[in-house]
Symmetry: C2
């Protein structure tokens, strides 16, 4: 909790209840890749008095500060994820919705080379692999 406050301070953001709560929720294991709406519902369920607009504002500030990463998914809405220290990409099972994080140095290097060869300086990228699990119980946690 103290490190959270630290992170907020470093970003020049005051320590307020909405921000602390949101940061807290985003760090819980089950809440990787949540939308603003998801977050809002969780907060309401927890009895917090918060507005959806505040959730959006806080998420945007966190994005600017590099505290979260915004992903653009199919379906039009953005999902957010705590930006861990190590970059990673995503492998998504289209049947059960499972999300696996991975990181591959070969791909990373190749991306840099490709961008460079086209005269572009890379700032970021998004890579999603879509498929389906081989397990029989795949669809269970859909």
């Amino acid at each position: 909790m103290s490190d959270n406050n630290q992170a907020l301070k470093k970003a020049g953001l005051k320590i307020t209840l909405p921000r602390v709560k949101i940061l807290d929720i985003l760090q819980q294991p089950g809440n990787q890749h949540v939308s603003a709406e998801d977050l809002y519902k969780i907060l309401i369920e927890q009895g917090e008095e918060i507005g959806l607009a505040t959730v959006y504002r806080v998420l945007n500030q966190f994005d600017d500060a590099g505290i979260v990463i915004r992903h653009h998914f199919e379906g039009g809405k953005s999902v957010f994820e705590i930006s861990s220290q190590k970059h990673h990409d995503h492998l998504v099972c289209l049947r059960c919705g499972k999300v696996i994080e991975f990181s591959d140095d070969v791909i990373e290097q190749r991306q840099l080379d490709i961008a460079k060869s086209h005269g572009i300086t890379l700032t970021n990228h998004s890579l999603y692999l879509y498929g389906h699990c081989d397990n029989a119980n795949c669809a269970d946690n859909a």
Copy 2:
């Protein structure tokens, strides 16, 4: 033009003016990666009487039929592209909006290996590299 009609028929779509016109525009070299709004404006400029809703409907039908591919770039709106036979990924300049298509066998192979090693059979993927041009005139065609 005849092949276009063919493509429409194969998708079970009647040969109508809006669909033919839209397909036509999407095939012109300068119109890779256009949004629905872009398309609508082009059609209006050409003197067509068409509604924005029709553009959206036709693009969705084309997407379902595999005639176009829908991309979710940063910025919230979808852009569409004629689905060519050869797969490729995208390099996007965030300053001037230029889109470069590329394809890399090393990355493709690596993706397959990664998916397999996680017990997932890959069906498709999306890879976007974002950055900015090194050219001085980069921002000109923003």
